[in-house]
């Protein structure tokens, strides 16, 4: 796949997630006290406010909750990537996750479609968690 013009700049809160991606592992943060999964990463649990947390390997399974098809490049550097699908995935663990739906024609994507997080080979060997039906 074509590499992305923008890549994450991990910080102290998000590094575990992106370190997992480098290994091709999809991790989610979970509160150690009330066991609620959360995303995006945060220093405290939005349910119980505890700072105790752990990173667990997620199933990567989920359902397309909604999506758009970007048909025109919205920024310079994205011309070769259009059209692409930006979707919100309802992860089986609970949190929602934004990613691209790949391995399918954009016009065939539907709300409710099941799939799984994958780490397809990118042409700059970066590792991004994408969603495939």
């Amino acid at each position: 796949l074509i590499a992305r013009p923008v890549m994450p700049a991990p910080n102290a809160d998000t590094a575990p997630f992106w370190d997992g991606c480098k290994q091709g592992v999809f991790l989610l943060q979970r509160c150690s006290v009330c066991t609620t999964f959360r995303h995006p990463p945060s220093p405290i649990c939005p349910e119980c406010l505890s700072a105790e947390n752990e990173w667990l390997q997620a199933t990567g399974l989920g359902t397309v909750y909604t999506f758009v098809i970007v048909r025109e490049a919205l920024r310079r550097g994205w011309e070769e990537l259009v059209p692409y699908v930006v979707a919100v995935i309802d992860l089986d663990e609970g949190p929602k996750f934004v990613t691209n739906v790949v391995n399918i024609e954009p016009d065939l994507v539907t709300i409710g479609m099941r799939g799984k997080i994958v780490f397809p080979p990118m042409d700059d060997s970066s590792m991004l968690p994408l969603f495939a039906p």
Binding site: R4, I44, P46, I69, R71
Partner: protein, 384 residues
């Protein structure tokens, strides 16, 4: 200052984050540590916090930062503000907290300030945030994507159509054609809308407000003083704010959103109902937002916004003229301020060719955070 204000409000909880140099922690982590310590110190439940004020930090500036902090704390406040006044912001937060409490916009305010000033390596700079790391690499690049996600969801849940989006674009353009101070004044048809190219599906070009230059201003004073000045007063009857989320992709619902409870608060203050409203100026960065707002503002049931905008109902001469100046879609963006100036102009009866005859009340929506942050205002020709 109002008589009796002195001593009426109090600080009930204090919290400090750990301090140091090169702590290696994020601004967000320090803010949340101070906040949770203040909550614990006060012995107050987080659900009692209905006001939040903070300042986006220099190193990791972020749009709608107060809403983002509310999301991280798992609360939905009725009053939030980003106080961007540098060194004065801390005391200014408390000053503004008192104003909001006195008005009754909220009952307990959490004020948070501070930042990370020492770090190894360069700061990120620019307008970036950790949230954006979970957007930009995936091509979630700006508002058409952010607002397209709830728009598609609305279509899925309620059968709303692109032609119905088009009705909003056509109404705004018709009204702009009658407004000498509008950028886009050539009338369009539904067919023009349907023929405009798909930019971010489901949004066509004519669903998206264009980039424009412009600004607005108003002066607010007491009703007594207003009556001594040059123009007929336009009375502030109702004000309400609500915040359900900072980032729509993580919102509990994408279709039942901040506008509902913001407008409920404004209607309650004004002691008015949707049926009492003559003109609606609704934030319209995208056509779909107007449809959601009409539902949440009580002009029709949830899910019926699409059919509500059909048959000229929101055009001049219709049952509820919407965005009579042309809105963001056709007049100018100005962060929605021209919705306020237009509503006031309508109340004064000075809107010329686009005057809604006999209009005595108007409702105005200020919206951001992809439907998560809403400020609602009801104004009128007469004081209640």
């Amino acid at each position: 200052v109002k008589e009796g204000l002195s001593g009426r409000y109090a600080i009930v909880g204090v919290g400090e984050s750990d301090v140091g140099r090169r702590l290696g922690r994020t601004d967000l982590a320090l803010h949340l540590e101070a906040a949770t310590r203040a909550l614990a110190d006060a012995g107050i439940e987080k659900k009692s916090i209905d006001g939040l004020m903070t300042r986006p930090t220099m190193a990791e500036p972020q749009f709608n930062y107060s809403a983002s902090l509310a999301a991280r704390l798992g609360i939905q406040p009725t009053y939030i503000t980003d106080v961007a006044m540098s060194g004065a912001s801390s005391v200014a937060m408390v000053l503004n907290a008192v104003a909001a409490l006195e008005a009754g916009f909220c009952t307990a305010v959490l004020c948070i300030n501070g930042d990370v000033q020492t770090r190894d390596g360069r700061s990120r700079g620019g307008l970036t945030s950790i949230v954006e790391d979970f957007e930009k690499p995936f091509g979630m690049l700006g508002a058409p994507v952010t607002y397209g996600l709830p728009a598609r969801r609305h279509m899925h849940e309620y059968g709303t159509t692109s032609r119905q989006f088009g009705e909003v674009a056509v109404a705004c353009r018709m009204h702009a054609s009658l407004n000498p101070n509008a950028v886009y004044r050539t009338p369009i048809t539904i067919d023009d809308h349907q023929r405009s190219r798909m930019v971010v599906d489901p949004f066509r070009l004519l669903d998206i407000c264009p980039r424009t230059d412009g600004a607005g201003a108003v002066i607010v004073t007491s009703a007594e003083r207003a009556r001594e000045l040059a123009q007929a007063p336009v009375y502030l009857l109702g004000l309400g704010e609500f915040n359900t989320h900072a980032d729509v992709q993580y919102a509990p619902s994408m279709t039942s959103v901040a506008m509902r409870r913001a407008s409920e608060r404004a209607y309650a203050m004004a002691k008015l109902h949707p049926r009492d409203i003559d003109v609606a100026e609704l934030y319209d960065c995208f056509t779909s937002v107007v449809i959601s707002t009409l539902e949440d503002y009580g002009f029709c049931a949830k899910g019926e916004g699409g059919s509500f905008v059909e048959n000229g109902r929101i055009r001049l001469g219709g049952e509820l003229p919407v965005n009579t100046g042309g809105g963001l879609l056709s007049q100018a963006h100005a962060s929605g301020f021209l919705h306020i100036t237009e509503a006031a102009t309508q109340m004064r009866g000075q809107a010329g060719d686009r005057q809604v005859i006999g209009a005595e009340t108007a409702i105005v929506s200020g919206q951001c955070g992809a439907l998560g942050i809403n400020a609602c205002m009801i104004i009128g020709k007469h004081a209640n």
